[in-house]
Amino acid sequence: MEVAMLVNLLAAGIRSGTPLLFATIGEIFAERSGVLNLGVEGMMLMGAMTAYGVSHATGNPWLGLLAGIIVGGFMALLHAFMTVTLRADQVVSGLALTFLGMGLSAVLGAPLVEVRNAPKLPAFPIPGLSQIPVVGPILFDHNIIVYIGFLLIPVAWFYIYRTRPGLNLRAVGEYPAAADTLGINVTRLRYYYVILGGMLAGLGGAALSLAITPLWIEGMTAGQGWIAVGLVIFAGWDPLRGAMGAYLFGAIRRLPLDMQNISFFLQHPTYGYFMNMLPYLFTIIVLVIGSREALRRRVGAPAALGVPYVREERGA
């Protein structure tokens, strides 16, 4: 009985952690290149709204997914232009991007709120594997988007730590001047990875509206974009730890729903508001842990994070 509940919670955690996973890994790429993008929430919302709308209009959820990715990429392009080319403050530009995404998705998505049945991405229990007790339902009985998330984790890790382009990416974020002398085009790489980050955030939003909570309501991400930014710090800019964090958060987000039926909460429904605080409080706790560890292990943010690169000026 208790095992069944735990299995349920873990499976739900992996499911609802998937949008967060995409957004977190996307932000890891952007920040690794030295650009902080606080617009994740806005990009996710635009991705979710566009994906849902396109899926509804065309009847094809995969086209919706693609549209969500593209829209996320375009929004990130705006941020890249502002921060890399115009060297505007990254915090302010990212905030502006979030405001823009929240407003634009609310305005454009207003008619979509009525639509309740846009085609969603298919569920795909893996034959055989999903029958294994305990492990099967946790890992192999999910919507197809969840497996795409599984695949992304090792790919992102391998790319960042074990390939030449990944080395260049890290160099650009740590010491752009040195990377520049080696013939690496700092500006171009920063554009690439900021856009990639936006595409993944858009994908995260699309995963939300096409599979995890298949509908569109304005502000449906409820701060997940911000949680992703926090998770990146907790993860120490490492996709493996980012994935762990995302799934953990997925489980915490599910807790209030799964606890609803416990008799205590049936008697005192208003205490549910405290349960709903958990993901946000937990983000703060996780940040404290991440920051302490960064101090202790002396691993920190990419050294050039937040600093525009100007070739003519001295700088690290």
Binding site: I233, I284, S291
Partner: protein
């Protein structure tokens, strides 16, 4: 080749077209004066483009918004009502921004200020006590509520170097849920998402209350909170200009290293500044519940705390400019209330911030296309 020829461009290794930024050595005077106007017009044009893409008629929307917000005495009254919390929250945010502390949590601080002020009005101060005592206690409580909510991220930043952007943001959500617990739980009126109405002496005086003496004020529902906002803006202006404390905060913002060498206690400053910043946002929450809604209720703020971030930035953290920009954005909020679809105000805020931030860099640098 005896004729002086223009300097030849250096040989190019690449034939691609590229954008380059060059710092302007001196800014032309006319550009500095015209800049704000050019930027706002540009922002409205970009906004119009986006609005027409969504299928609305931007000129109609702009005209209606302007006439609703600034077209009459009552329009100005409504705009003032929204400008009041906006000025207070923006002043709060600007204190932290001066020190390059990114307090994104004004919305939560505002809710906590409103929460504590409500608690005092409903449960602590006897309802028959004089109005000045009631309002003063509520104001202090509102300030403290917001200050606590700002102090927590300040403490974490100062002692553990925890990123304040994320903590202030997360605490926004916590504050709103905390309020929801009280307005649906212990303080709820019949299970709705609101508390009982405050006693009359907890209502901030409104201009219309003096209509018997001055008939022109009839229907002007703006309240005296605006005087508090103006007063604190002037106080802050004096603090930045003439006090050592204000000078130190600005120094830390510009160059924390130098500040540390000068013997300024950084971590204490961080905590104090964050608490003050939150406290002003808490006052914004107090004036809103005391002057406008007269109770605590769900979503009583249309995102004042977030708009305050944009206002503070656009005003370049200057307290007097914050008043002007707040009136502009309050007008935007009032006008957008009347317009469908919802979300237009947020959309325009995002566009304005983008255009102004980008345009500002264009003024400081020159964009060169090279081949």
């Amino acid at each position: 080749m005896s004729v002086q020829s223009p300097p030849q461009p250096p040989p190019q290794t690449s034939t691609r077209t590229r954008l380059r930024l060059e710092r302007r050595m001196e800014q032309p005077r006319w550009l500095n004066i015209l800049a704000p106007f050019i930027l706002i017009i540009a922002a409205l044009l970009v906004g119009a483009l986006l609005l027409s893409l969504t299928g609305s008629d931007p000129w109609l929307i702009y005209r209606r918004m302007a006439s609703v917000a600034y077209g009459s005495k009552y329009g100005w009254s409504d705009t003032t009502i929204k400008a009041t919390p906006l000025i207070l929250a923006s002043l709060g945010v600007s204190i932290a921004f001066r020190m390059r502390l990114w307090n994104i949590g004004a919305e939560g601080q505002l809710y906590m200020g409103a929460f504590l002020a409500t608690g005092v009005a409903l449960n602590v101060v006897p309802p028959e006590s004089p109005m000045w005592l009631m309002l003063l206690t509520m104001g202090v409580a509102g300030f403290i509520g917001g200050a606590i909510w700002g102090f927590i991220p300040g403490l974490l930043k100062a002692k553990l170097n925890v990123n304040e952007i994320i903590t202030t943001l997360m605490l926004n959500y916590v504050a709103i849920l905390w309020n929801n617990y009280f307005i649906y739980g212990p303080w709820s009126e019949r299970g709705f998402g609101l508390t009982p109405q405050f006693p009359r002496n907890a209502w901030m005086p409104r201009f219309t209350d003096y209509a018997t003496a001055v008939p022109a004020l009839r229907g002007v529902t703006a309240h005296f909170g605006i005087f508090l906002a103006f007063f604190l803006a002037i106080v802050l202006w004096v603090v930045w200009r003439w006090t050592k404390w204000g000078f130190e905060v600005s120094i830390i913002g510009d160059n924390p290293q130098a500040a540390r060498y000068a013997g300024i206690n950084l971590s204490r400053k961080i905590m104090v500044v964050m608490a003050l910043s939150g406290g002003l946002a808490g006052l914004a929450g107090m004036v809103e519940v005391s002057g406008v809604v007269h109770r605590l209720q769900e979503r009583f703020s249309p995102g004042y705390g977030f708009t305050a971030i944009i206002v503070a930035w656009l005003a370049k953290l200057n307290p007097l400019a914050i008043i002007v920009v707040s009136y502009l954005f309050a007008g935007l909020l009032v006008g957008a209330d009347e317009i469908q679809p919802a979300g237009i105000a947020q959309l325009l805020q995002g566009v304005i911030l983008f255009v102004v931030v980008g345009g500002d860099m264009m003024l400081r640098y020159r964009l060169r296309v090279t081949h």
